[in-house]
């Protein structure tokens, strides 16, 4: 998970506002357009070659969902803007993948940008991509950077005739898509929660040197997630309060549920962030603890042997007149003295609770 795309923004320095340049890292080879058209009785789905192919649906009463995978061809986005009358500043936002989640009222439509987080690969790293939605009277346009197909379950529900989704409007479709994205947040949180627990166990029992960079990486990811989840909360809250006729009473109800979910995401993130800073404290404490133990071993060894080595040194001196050297039991006595010293020291350490 790359934590910041501020970098790429600087390519646009000096260009007039509204210039359509893709800012980000290309995540798919070709741009794929999928058009779905449905009403309670009918469902049709096809791949489109260009936005112009979709225009036929624009004026039908049935609901159209255009899903665009891949943002690196500004021409497609531009023709989308022309066909559906979207201001070039919003098209710019779609292409700028460092966009902050936000909602804009287009008058006869709604424009929403958010981040999607998905788990990829076996090591369960999280991948972020930007997803934009445009809600119109009878259509939803969704645009994502890559080709991770997170909306497949929604499409399956659309295909089956008896779900709620076919009989409700495009606002419910938008809700269903956003709900899918937010549901993936929980999977990511789950993985992060497990990583926190693993790190915690490692730190409390037996830690390796590489734990620290991993803690740091975790904190960076939580920071990034927070940066993306907080404004999303405001976005969904704004959807609840908006007075355009686009979102109907029934859907409002579902969006309130979605709002509950995002609040829970934000709450959990805050908890995780607190736990993650706790990890560093545990780390420092356990390093201190270890150092303390190392010091104790050193001190015990040194404190026992330095004095008796001195005794041995004394009787290694070569003075001519050293009466003890001549005593019959001198050597034994020295050993006695040294053993007494060792016992005294050990007693002292036991009293100090070092042993």
């Amino acid at each position: 998970m790359k934590s910041d795309n501020v970098h790429d923004r600087s390519e646009k320095l000096g260009l007039p506002p509204g210039s359509l340049i893709f800012v980000g890292e290309q995540k798919t080879d070709s741009v794929v357009l999928t058009v779905s058209n449905y009403d309670p009785d009918r469902f049709e789905e096809k791949q489109a070659a260009s936005i112009e192919d979709c225009l036929a649906y624009r004026d039908l009463p049935s609901i159209t969902w255009i899903h665009v995978c891949g943002l690196h061809r500004p021409d497609i986005i531009e023709s989308l803007g022309k066909s559906y009358g979207i201001h070039h500043l919003f098209l710019e936002d779609i292409l700028n993948t460092s966009q902050r989640p936000k909602m804009e009222d287009l008058g006869e439509g709604l424009f929403i940008v958010m981040k999607s987080f998905t788990l990829s690969g076996d090591d369960e790293t999280t991948a972020a991509e930007q997803i934009s939605f445009i809600l119109g009277k009878n259509y939803v346009i969704s645009l994502q950077e890559g080709n991770a197909d997170i909306f497949e379950p929604v499409r399956t529900r659309l295909r089956s005739a008896h779900g709620r989704i076919r009989s409700l409007g495009p606002d419910y479709l938008l809700y269903a898509l956003m709900d899918t994205v937010v549901d993936h947040y929980f999977s990511v949180l789950e993985v992060l929660g497990e990583r926190i627990e693993v790190l915690e166990d490692e730190l409390l029992t037996d830690h390796a040197r590489e734990t620290l960079p991993r803690v740091h990486r975790l904190r960076r990811e939580l920071l990034f997630l927070k940066k993306m989840a907080w404004p999303l909360r405001e976005v969904i809250n704004a959807m609840l309060r908006i007075e355009t006729g686009l979102i109907q009473q029934t859907t409002q109800f579902y969006i309130r549920d979605l709002y509950d979910h995002i609040i829970q995401v934000v709450d959990t993130l805050e908890n995780y962030r607190e736990l993650a800073s706790g990890l560093l404290e545990i780390y420092l404490s356990s390093v201190s603890n270890r150092m303390n133990e190392v010091m104790k071993v050193l001190t015990i060894i040194a404190t026992i042997f330095i004095p008796i080595t001195f005794i041995a040194g004394v009787y290694g001196m070569n003075f001519e007149f050293m009466p003890e050297l001549k005593w019959r039991w001198g050597y034994a006595m020295v050993w006695g003295v040294m053993i007494a010293m060792i016992i005294t020291m050990l007693g002292y350490f036991r009293k100090k609770k070092w042993l």
Copy 2:
């Protein structure tokens, strides 16, 4: 106390909203339904086999309290929804035990979710379970995950004819149930407060290595409690401000008292959290302190013996021309020098306050 159930949520990935699946860990074997029906003059109580059994009471003027222990049978929850006209999104909330405390206005009813914390076993660990309430015109439905019977005192008061509770409406019953749950918070806080004091004493006097994980566990629990108590404050505040006719003037008065209690819980939690972070600081300080002492012992021993060992070493040299070795009092003089050095060192340490 398991701190987060985000895990289990991921099982629902891809399902349409409102799917009734129990999210959580099953805490009781069978689902038990207890129905109480009362008016000022009468009290009746029985075990019911299914929700349908309770339907007879629905249209009586007397007050009905249905208490459900165990949430792992979605069919029961679903029939409850059908009988009492509760939206499937709320049924989903009841079944999702990672729900955040919240209140929803159902139009002709109120829906409240909160957490109950109880002490279990001798080691006084806290167990959390989710409790949901539905308040209607003439009924209260309460649903809990397990079978810990915390509402028994309320039932006792209901049985006796002369308490206030029989003559007041279902709103007062709801208050009495919520008050019981919040009263248990104080017991949990009491246990946590004692654990903080025990840890504090251990850290300040004589700490073992296992103290650190215990401090960490304590902080996790406080974090979880906070996450559950904060939104409850908002819930109870919302109950005070709601303008539905369901909650009467007299009960408002009691709910204000309940609000005071939850504020006190939140305040105490904040204090505990501050004390708990203080614990870590004490821990680090006392580890530093100890290391300092260990170092001092090592330094004193080394500083005294290393120089005199050197003196001994000098006169252990085998040079042919070492005049001192031949002196009559050479050996005595060396001892004199060494003792003088020891005294000087001890004086220095006393000046430095190391002794």
Copy 3:
């Protein structure tokens, strides 16, 4: 100062709300009731045996002040409730000494709970007790846990005919009593401020091991004071905004002054809390500093003597062919080498600024 009475609350688990049970620690032997009755021209004071004794004053136009010392007899509180028409939930608050400061509008009266802090004994420990006030049309009832007579100065002013206090209403009396309580906060802050300064000096110059628990105790006290002073601010602010006719224009003016005082208390507390966390940082820094110094001494001694001890060791070897041992000036040369090494080391340490 005991920081939390959450403990005792658990005794009430399972009792219906409004049960009159004294929660706390008994602080006086017998309950003493002092009744004062006054108007601008007259002042009368007596000890009453029971609340019923005071009833005669209730319907007089003159102002009555009933002061109750000792809360451990619920029957007295109950008869007070009956005589003056106070709801049992408020009586419960009076008896629950873990109550958070708050103000309640009784319709024809005001109910205020706050904490009083006084200094006791020579060691100037602070003692906290709960004080409740009930303000009526022509009376003030004050109830305190113990028998510390902090209101004596007010009584003195009442006795003298020419003060402002006799000519103003019961609202001014309430103000005078609360002002007295808040004035004592300043004495407590003064003592705490001095303790912070003493600790600071100890930590910066020469600290003993017992400093740390004292810092911790200080922080606990500040935490408790904060918990009690913050809501008091809201209470006094609410008194300023309340629209009941009980508090007159002139008294409002004085209450605003009281509000200024409590703001100052809160401000000072915040400062003290910041200084107290600074203390811990100083502590850790000075422990580190000391350890650094200890290490330096050890290193200097070891670094000087270990190499020259090695030299001495070399010439203590018993090889048959060691030419130096036979040299005439061998011994002197060895001393020369050793002294040169010492001088080099000392120079190195001076360069490193260790000496």
Copy 4:
């Protein structure tokens, strides 16, 4: 800069509110009253012996500025109160030098208390004193604790006929005085900013033991300044919003500028506080760093010499059968072994980047 005068407040314990007692430390010998009276055409200035001397000006249409240096004579303050009709609670605030900055609407006047900070002496310590202002229809009364003449530049501008100040009302004079006080804040900030930079350099390059108390003193001063600057912001903001006719449109404009200045003071203070806590972190880091270096020296010396001293010890043993001792090149070989060990060790340290 003494950081808190809470101490002196306790002298007032038990006195009725509004008692005029000087709380603080006397900063000047005698109280000096300077009266200035001016209109666009005229300027008159004299020293007054008492407030009664100034009464003549009260009813003139021209503007009067009474400046009082020294607060330790309550009688003067009292006669001021009588002459200008100021409530005794405000007189009390003037005398209580631990007052928090505040503004009070006197109905036909404004009462403002703030702190002035000035640099005194060569060592540029900051001195704080309390300054109160009373703004009336045609007068400004300013009262300060000491006799630091910070208002001289304003007086100079008043004396000259062509400045803006003579033609505008007393509200502009009040603004000019307050602006002068706030301008001095910048000088104090400048000095503090330099002290932070000096401390930073000391800590990063070569620190002495006394740095820590200085960092702590700096933080205390910043804390005190913050405590005084924050409420001043609210005071000036309140002056902008007040609807009394005392402050005219033109002056409002200048007060907005003053508001910008105080915001800048508060911002800079916040930055300084952050930098100051950064200082402590640098300190701890550099102590750790140093200790690390000391340890390395010790470890290198010990690790090199302990093993070779052992070798020397081995051949200092007096066994009769030690073949090596008899070898022709035994001594040289031992030296060879020892030098090889030293080289190995040095290589190891180089690899570890300790050298």
Copy 5:
């Protein structure tokens, strides 16, 4: 990037408000005035010698943009004030380069102050300068401290006939200029983001002593940027809410986009600040880690050699009666004992995971 110009402010101590003195460091040699005049059909650009030269454009219907590089000549600013009727307090703000970003409503104009950050030189240090804008009915005046030509791209767009910019009003020009400034913020953030990553890598792998001052410098820069970006957010927000007719509907739209950008800057800064404090924690942790390793090496060496050196010392004693010395295998046995001790020690260290 100099972080605070509070210093220079003190030069103004004692001067009346509105005195025009340049506060700051001169950043360019001569003051350069560039005047551009355009309408949809025409574009004219010239260097002007003085403000008076520009007066001719003032009353034309076409749009005039006067750009002033260099603020050190107060006379030019003063004549600007006279020609365009700008209050001397705002002129003072223009000259005071320590000004906080702000917007002021001039009645028939808008006054905006903000900071521009540009990268300069190869080492990519950031340079800050103050930029002020005055927006009038048909003109924009921009003033900057130095001569870094960041507005060249805007000028290029003005020169070309087909851009949007020529056909929109002076409000759009103001937006375009401000947008250019904010776009440069992203370049600065990019460089800072890279520096954080570089520091992080250095700290986690192999750090030098100079890392700490660099971390500190980084934090100072972030603090300064934050101080300048936060109020800018409010400025742009105020521009959105202002009800003067100067800013048209279409431009509002673009300003909302600008607001999004500044929010993103502020968000990113907050993240960077958190990462930067994380850096210090990593630093401390890795210093601790290293010290731990150093200690281990010392302890292993000392613990292995001190005991066996003692053994060697024992048999170096010169007692006459030491039976071992005479044994045939005495010497070999001693070696055996010593090797056994070494092996035991190594086993102990392996068990402790020190090896």
